[in-house]
C-alpha cells in the first residue's frame, strides 16, 4: 500500500482534487452511457407493444367500416 493512512490516500499527495475529479467524471460518464442504453432498451420494447396495439386498433376500425358499408 503506497499510502500510510487512508486520509493520505484521499489526499493523493496534494493532487486529490484532480485525481478524484478525473476518476469521478470517468466513471460517471461511463455510468451514464450504460444506463442510457438500458433505458433505451426498455423504452424500445414498450414501443413494440404500442405498435402492436396500434395495429390491432387499425385492423378493428377497418373491419367495422367494411361491416358498416
Amino acid at each position: 500500500m503506497q499510502f500510510e493512512s487512508f486520509s493520505d490516500f484521499i489526499n493523493m499527495g496534494g493532487y486529490a482534487f484532480y485525481v478524484w475529479l478525473s476518476f469521478g467524471v470517468t466513471f460517471l460518464s461511463m455510468g451514464i452511457i450504460a444506463v442510457q442504453s438500458y433505458l433505451k432498451q426498455s423504452s424500445l420494447l414498450k414501443a413494440v407493444i404500442v405498435e402492436q396495439e396500434r395495429k390491432a386498433r387499425i385492423k378493428k376500425a377497418r373491419q367495422e367500416n367494411t361491416h358498416a358499408q
Binding site: 493523493m12 484532480y18 478525473s22 467524471v25 470517468t26 460518464s29 461511463m30 426498455s42 420494447l45 407493444i49
Partner: protein, 250 residues
C-alpha cells in the same frame, strides 16, 4: 469465405449472440476495472516527478487508446457492411459510435485534468489533446450524419462512408498536429512526454485497458440489441421478446 460468421448477419442470430456475450463482458469489465483502478490508485508506485497526479494515467491512457480503437472498429464494421452487405455490421457500427465519443470525452477530460497541475491552465493546445479533440469532432460527424437520415438503411451506408473517410484521416491528422506542435514549440509550452513506465506501473494500466475494452464491448452489445429491436420492430420474434420483457417486468 468466413462461412462460420455468416449466420450472424441475420439479426435474430446476432441478437442471441449479444445476449450470450453480454454477461461475460460485464463480469470481465467490472472485475478488470476494479482491480486495475484499485491497483493503480493505491498500490502502484508514485512517479518521481509528478507524484500522485500521475495516477490519472491509469484512465487517461486506456481511454485515449480505446477512443482510437473504437473508431477503427467502427470503420471495420462499416467496411464489412459495405463489402458483404451485412445490416448487422452497420448496426454495430452505429452502436459503437456513442461509446467511442464518450471514451474520447473521457480521454480529453482526464488529459486536461492531468495537465492542469503542470501547465497551470485547464486547457493547453498540446499535440495529443488537440488530435483527441478532432477525433471527438469526427465521432460527432458520424453520429450527426446517421441521425439526419429517416431511412436507417441509407443512414448506415452514409455514416459508414464517413467512418472510413475518418479512419483514413486519423493518422494524417495525428502527424500534422504533431508537426504543428513542434512548429510552435517555442510557444512556451513544455513538451509533455510520457515518463518511462516501470513494469509495476504497466500492469494496472494493461488491466484497466482490458477493463475499458470489455466495458465498451458490453455497452456495444446492449446498444446493438437496441438497434436490432428498433429496426425489426414488426418482426414476430421481436414482439414475442417484448411480451416476455413486459411479463418479466410485471
Amino acid at each position: 469465405m468466413w462461412k462460420w460468421l455468416h449466420p450472424y448477419a441475420k439479426t435474430e442470430r446476432a441478437y442471441q449472440l449479444c445476449l450470450t456475450l453480454q454477461p461475460w463482458f460485464w463480469a470481465g469489465a467490472l472485475l478488470c476495472l476494479s482491480i486495475g483502478t484499485v491497483w493503480g490508485l493505491a498500490f502502484a508506485p508514485q512517479d518521481y516527478q509528478q507524484g500522485d497526479s500521475f495516477r490519472i494515467i491509469y484512465i487517461h491512457v486506456p481511454s485515449a487508446i480505446l477512443s482510437m480503437g473504437t473508431y477503427v472498429a467502427m470503420a471495420i464494421a462499416a467496411l464489412v457492411g459495405m463489402v458483404w452487405q451485412w445490416r448487422t455490421a452497420y448496426m454495430s457500427m452505429i452502436a459503437m459510435a456513442p461509446i467511442g465519443a464518450v471514451m474520447t470525452f473521457i480521454a480529453l477530460f482526464t488529459g486536461a485534468a492531468w495537465g492542469k497541475p503542470m501547465w497551470g491552465a485547464w486547457w493547453v493546445w498540446d499535440a495529443r489533446l488537440t488530435s483527441e479533440l478532432i477525433l471527438l469532432f469526427l465521432y460527432m460527424g458520424v453520429i450527426a450524419l446517421y441521425g439526419a437520415f429517416e431511412d436507417k438503411q441509407q443512414a448506415g451506408k452514409a455514416a459508414g462512408v464517413m467512418a472510413l473517410v475518418g479512419v483514413v484521416n486519423i493518422p494524417i491528422i495525428h502527424y500534422s498536429v504533431e508537426w504543428w506542435n513542434t512548429l510552435h514549440q517555442g510557444a512556451t509550452i513544455s513538451k509533455f512526454d510520457n515518463p518511462s513506465i516501470a513494469p509495476e506501473m504497466l500492469w494496472p494500466l494493461l488491466i484497466n485497458l482490458l477493463g475499458f475494452a470489455l466495458f465498451i464491448g458490453a455497452v456495444t452489445t446492449v446498444r446493438l440489441r437496441n438497434e436490432i429491436v428498433l429496426r425489426e420492430l414488426h418482426r414476430p420474434w421481436v414482439q414475442a421478446l417484448a411480451q416476455q420483457h413486459i411479463e418479466g417486468k410485471r
